[in-house]
């Protein structure tokens, strides 16, 4: 008689544990959202990827359509080669534009795809040629300061 109550408790305990792991996977983790299904792989070369990391989302019009699979340095072109895994359901034209954006001011970086007008679509293993690098804050600030300085110079000249 006592054994059955213990069995009941242990069954309850194990069920609770399974529920906790399921809850972690579905509610806390990204098991549902990372489930993209069948994918195809394209590459894109960037001169500067900023803080892009593997597994970062690939978005088009703000919707996640893939993930960054890998990043490596190409010693021939001195570019970063980023491999993107895209959902098979979405086909993109060959002249699609790939940008590296930042979510929010300090958020994580992601790859944004903007469809072009070509009639031929990207295939497995193709390379996206139109790319735009990540915005590097230091570069922007130095450019801004440089422009300001040259503006001042021309103002001074005009005053003279």
């Amino acid at each position: 008689m006592e054994r059955t109550t213990i069995d009941l408790w242990v069954g309850f305990f194990v069920a609770l544990g399974v529920a906790a792991i399921l809850g972690l996977a579905l509610k806390v983790g990204n098991l549902t959202s990372s489930n993209i299904g069948e994918t195809y792989t394209v590459t894109a070369g960037f001169e500067n990827i900023g803080g892009l990391k593997p597994r970062a989302p690939v978005k088009s019009a703000g919707v996640v359509i893939g993930r960054v699979d890998g990043i490596r340095f190409d010693a021939k072109t001195y570019e970063a080669q980023v491999t993107l895994k895209l959902d098979k359901r979405y086909a993109f034209p060959k002249d699609t534009f790939a940008n590296i954006y930042t979510a929010g001011l300090l958020g994580e970086q992601y790859v944004g795809l903007e469809a072009g007008g070509d009639e031929v679509n990207l295939q497995e293993g193709d390379k996206i040629t139109h790319t735009q690098d990540a915005v590097v804050l230091e570069k922007m600030i130095s450019q801004f300061l440089y422009n300001k300085a040259s503006e001042n110079k021309s103002d001074n000249k005009a005053a003279e």
Binding site: I6, L16, I21, G29, S33
Partner: protein
């Protein structure tokens, strides 16, 4: 003066050799338990009873502390994050710190205190009252009948408890962040889901808790089995269980984390 120095050095050497001896004996016991594991699997009622003793009876302390740990994480995290205007990231902070570190580690520490000490005291007393010798006399292996089921039960209970700890902790963080402080509920969950990875974070946490389960249960079993058959011996063995388990868990946690995090 010279003789006291000599005796000090001798003591250090003795303690060192004693430590190595314990390690070897523990390893041998671990091997025996693995050998007898098959036998105990064939008697599930024994394992079920031990899971009740180690797992179910630890539920209360694990769940209550998990809820409070989650709430404290929520409060502390909010306090710092709102300075940077990103209080929505509180879900990420609570979930990642629980799933990766606090879940497995704090559960293992509580487990060593709640279940490990019980195992050590029980087996130590069994030895002191010569129940283990009686079993051997009847050609029943105490390792197969007493130790192996407890080992298996500990290894099964630990990941379940750790997963529960993480889940309840996240709920505790949610309780503080959303109803009490007023962080947006959608942002809390969606940011969490965006940065907690199933393979990298949750599965690694479960792996950690399995390792901690093996280590904590093994230390508790060995200390009980090895305890001198006196009241003082059993009490000292119980203390050693908590101390060694805690040290082993914290040290191993660093090593496991170093393996898991790719820099």
């Amino acid at each position: 003066m010279f003789s006291s120095l000599k005796s000090t050095i001798a003591k250090i050497g003795h303690n060192f050799i004693e430590g190595i001896w314990h390690l070897g004996a523990g390893g041998r016991l671990f091997f025996y338990i693995l050998v007898y594991l098959g036998d105990s699997v064939r008697r599930p009622s024994l394992i079920v009873r031990e899971i009740y003793a180690t797992g179910v009876l630890s539920l209360l302390i694990i769940l209550v502390s998990a809820f409070f740990v989650g709430m404290v994480l929520g409060l502390q995290g909010y306090n710092t994050l709102q300075k940077y205007g990103s209080s929505e990231a509180i879900g990420v902070l609570v979930a990642l710190s629980l799933v990766r570190e606090l879940g497995p580690v704090v559960t293992a520490l509580l487990f060593a205190g709640r279940a490990g000490t019980a195992i050590t005291a029980e087996i130590g007393l069994m030895r002191a009252t010569e129940q283990l010798s009686a079993m051997e006399m009847m050609a029943v292996s105490p390792v197969g009948r007493v130790l192996a089921p407890r080992f298996l039960a500990g290894v099964i209970s630990m990941p379940i408890l750790a997963a529960l700890f993480s889940m309840i902790g996240v709920l505790g963080g949610y309780f503080v962040a959303v109803p009490l402080i007023g962080v947006d509920s959608g942002a809390f969950w969606s940011q969490m889901q965006a940065s907690v990875d199933f393979r990298e974070d949750i599965v690694n946490g479960v792996i950690k808790s399995v390792v901690f389960g093996i280590v904590c249960t093994m230390i508790a079993l060995f200390e009980g089995y090895d305890a001198p058959p006196t009241a003082e011996g059993v009490s000292r063995a119980t203390t050693r269980t908590v101390v060694y388990s805690s040290l082993a868990v914290l040290g191993l946690d660093f090593i496991l984390t170093a393996f898991m995090i790719k820099v």
